[in-house]
């Protein structure tokens, strides 16, 4: 750059020559320089502004771009998330009270077909029919060659079957992963567990939905992702359940019964330790419900929690309880049992003539209808209703089975004085064996209400309101014990377990009114041990009969009672109960497990 001086000599000389002021030249020159500096500064400032603007633009563009990206991109699981909480199955396991698995999940494969991708549909249909013998090849071929684009062939197949289908080598036959519910113990606790079915289906997965039993009752809890890792622990004891099912099935066969139900309940907590209803089914292959006929003929029917039966004389204890509780009688008070009691056309009789009078104790021991009717009449309808209501015999039970939630006992619409009298010996009121078990549990545990439950109760905090005085409960237990030692349930004695109980044999009602002469429901409600009650066991046999002592016997004393005795003999040791033998109890034991 050529530097121009402020006073260029040539121009100054020239100006002086013409008599002009050379300072003007200097001023002009100086102004020119200032302008140049000014322009330079301005350019730089402009540049800086542009740069700053650019920086801001890029900043905003970056944020805006990121926002746009977030807005349009698909949400994705964070890859670095801790894997411990990840969900691997979609339904929680079910275990028994000791942690043995009752229901769990397995991953299997489903098989579907896409006919438009098939090379040789005829061959595929033929080969598939060989792998799955129950498939009809003609129908399959019709599906494969028709207009359908998607066909489920099998929803669950085994790995062996999958290999065989692979071997067919047909590209139109495809597999999808599928979770299935497995009940490893088969039919053992079928009515409690219920079963599951597939809900919404896709080739990649299918929903597992509970369709009955606890599976349906706790469906939301089982599928809750937050709780899917924690198994649902039931109050059922697998060993007791297995023992009970085997003995009841044997007893049902010997007694030639059509069905049987048994409930074993802890009297203090209301936990159902075991519940059996026969005939039963395999929840892995749940049968379809009956479309016509009596639903109680289906193996799906849970006699213990759904079967509403007149339970007969087992209700007599409630009449005694009401009178004792009200202080109307004590166990030795004499009741007039001369009969029959006539009430309009209706007559109340006893099976045998027991004389003119019996003590309250003996009314229960000998099972006198007239005696209990008199007691109930004296106590009044209101007292009876209050007691039965308090024991939960007028409402559905709180048991966590979807089938049981709406089973309400049948009571007379018009609860007259006659109804009070017949109900006192168990006629005109129908309840489930489960209702009876929970009512007996309240009578046995000192008179505190218990709610039957299928969930394991941690501490003994399950007591509800007081229904009866402790003394009344003790007297009732003495009565039950006497029924076994010298009454109608003499076959029920099991040495060392102080069994007490009350028999009940009720004629079965005909579907269109009246009662059968030769069909009974035989029930034995037992408590053991009566001196310190721990368990209630209710056994109901449907239409039992046995040839014994020279004639055909149907009453509970000959049918349900011996089976219960066998049940207690087998169950009590399994429940870790040591028999009380005379002379024992002096030695202190330390329990040792290995």
């Amino acid at each position: 750059m050529i530097r121009t001086p402020l006073r260029p000599l040539a121009r100054v000389i020239d100006a002086r020559k013409h008599g002009q002021n050379p300072d003007q030249i200097e001023a002009a020159e100086r102004a020119k320089r200032n302008q140049a500096v000014h322009q330079k500064l301005r350019k730089r400032a402009e540049g800086r502004l542009t740069l700053l603007g650019l920086a801001f633009f890029m900043g905003f563009a970056a944020i805006g771009g990121k926002m746009a990206m977030l807005a349009v991109s698909e949400p994705m699981e964070p890859k670095l998330a801790y894997s411990g909480s990840k969900i691997y199955s979609q339904r929680a396991d079910i275990t028994d009270r000791n942690g043995a698995v009752l229901a769990t999940n397995l991953v299997t494969t489903s098989l579907y077909a896409q006919p438009q991708r098939m090379i040789n549909p005829v061959r595929a249909a033929e080969k598939l029919a060989k792998v799955f013998p129950d498939i009809n090849p003609e129908k399959l071929l019709k599906d494969f060659t028709g207009t359908r684009k998607f066909i489920w062939v099998r929803k669950k197949i085994s790995p062996e079957q999958q290999q065989l289908v692979h071997d067919i080598g047909e590209p139109g036959l495809l597999f999808g992963p599928r979770e299935m519910r497995l009940y490893p113990n088969g039919s053992l606790a079928a009515h409690i567990l219920g079963g599951t079915g597939f809900g919404k289906e896709d080739v990649r997965a299918a929903e597992l939905v509970g369709v009955a039993g606890v599976e349906k009752y706790f469906d939301a809890r089982m599928r809750d992702p937050a709780q899917v890792d924690k198994p649902l622990q039931l109050s059922i004891d697998l060993t007791a359940q297995a023992t009970m099912r085997r003995v009841v099935a044997g007893g049902m066969k010997i007694m030639d019964a059509k069905g049987a139900a048994a409930v074993l309940m802890d009297v203090h907590t209301g936990e159902v330790i075991s519940m059996v209803s026969l005939p039963d089914f395999d929840p892995n292959e749940r049968p379809r419900p009956l479309l016509k006929g009596d639903p109680s003929d289906s193996p799906l029917f849970n006699r213990a929690a759904q079967g509403v039966y007149e339970l007969g004389s087992t209700f007599k204890l409630f009449a005694a309880a009401a009178s004792l509780e009200k202080g109307l009688v004590n166990e030795n008070a004499m009741i007039d049992i001369r009969g029959p009691i006539k009430w309009g056309k209706f007559k109340i009789r006893d099976f045998h003539n027991y004389g003119k009078q019996l003590s309250v104790m003996d009314v229960i021991v000998k099972s006198s209808n007239i005696g209990t009717a008199r007691m109930a009449q004296a106590a009044g309808t209101q007292t009876q209703k209050e007691l039965l209501g308090g024991l939960g015999l007028l409402q559905p039970t709180a048991l966590e089975l979807v089938e049981a939630t709406h089973i309400k006992p049948l009571v007379p619409k018009n609860w007259s004085e006659l109804s009070t009298m017949t109900i006192s010996y168990g006629h005109g009121i129908a309840a489930t064996p489960l209702h009876l078990a929970s009512a007996y549990a309240t009578l046995a545990n000192g008179g505190l209400k218990v709610q039957p439950t299928l969930l394991k109760v941690d501490a003994q905090t399950a007591y509800g309101a007081r229904i009866l005085k402790d003394d009344t409960s003790k007297t009732l237990m003495r009565m039950l014990r006497n029924v076994v030692t010298r009454g109608t349930a003499s076959f029920g004695e099991v040495k060392g377990y102080s069994v007490g109980g009350k028999t009940g044999s009720a004629d079965k009602p005909k579907p269109n009114g009246g009662y059968y002469d030769d069909k009974v429901i035989a029930t034995f409600a037992s408590v053991f041990p009566t001196d310190d009650p721990k368990y209630v066991l209710v056994l109901t046999l449907d239409e039992p009969s046995i040839q014994a002592a020279g004639e055909k016997r149907r009453t509970a004393g000959w049918t349900a009672v011996p089976v219960t005795a066998e049940l207690i003999t087998r169950l009590a040791p399994v429940l870790n109960m040591r028999p009380e033998v005379a002379g024992s109890g002096k030695v202190q034991y330390t329990q040792v497990k290995n």
Binding site: L80, V101, T104, V107, N185, L188, K495, T569, P579, V587
Partner: protein, 113 residues
């Protein structure tokens, strides 16, 4: 001086860029490893679930009862009864030492002739 500063700066930037490049690949490799491990964990958990189910199936009371029946001659197991509870007074001081069971037990019906 200034050019040295520029040089150092550019070297620094190149260094940072290289570091970032390396870190990026390392992160991606780690992510891949995590994914593989998670798949492995899922697989293991599935296997555990299958084994648990199988264990429960093999220990189902029906099967155990059958096994007891099959091996009655060797094991002589019978259902637990009240009479099986004993008193410590009933236990005599052991005089013989019992051999441990080394004979095989039958697991499948018909295997024992």
């Amino acid at each position: 001086m200034r050019s040295l500063f520029y040089l150092v700066c550019s070297a620094f930037v190149i260094g940072l860029a290289y570091w970032a490049y390396k870190e990026n690949y390392k992160t991606q490799a780690s992510l891949k490893e995590v994914k593989e491990l998670q798949q492995q964990i899922a697989h293991e958990k599935e296997t555990i679930a299958v084994l648990n189910a199988e264990w429960a199936y093999l220990n189902r009371p029906d099967r155990l009862r059958e096994l007891v029946d099959l091996n009655f001659e060797d094991l002589q197991l019978i259902p637990l009864l009240p009479s099986h509870f004993g008193d410590s007074e009933m236990v005599a001081y052991p005089t013989t030492v019992f051999d441990s069971i080394v004979e095989p037990v039958t697991v499948i019906g018909g295997a024992q002739q």
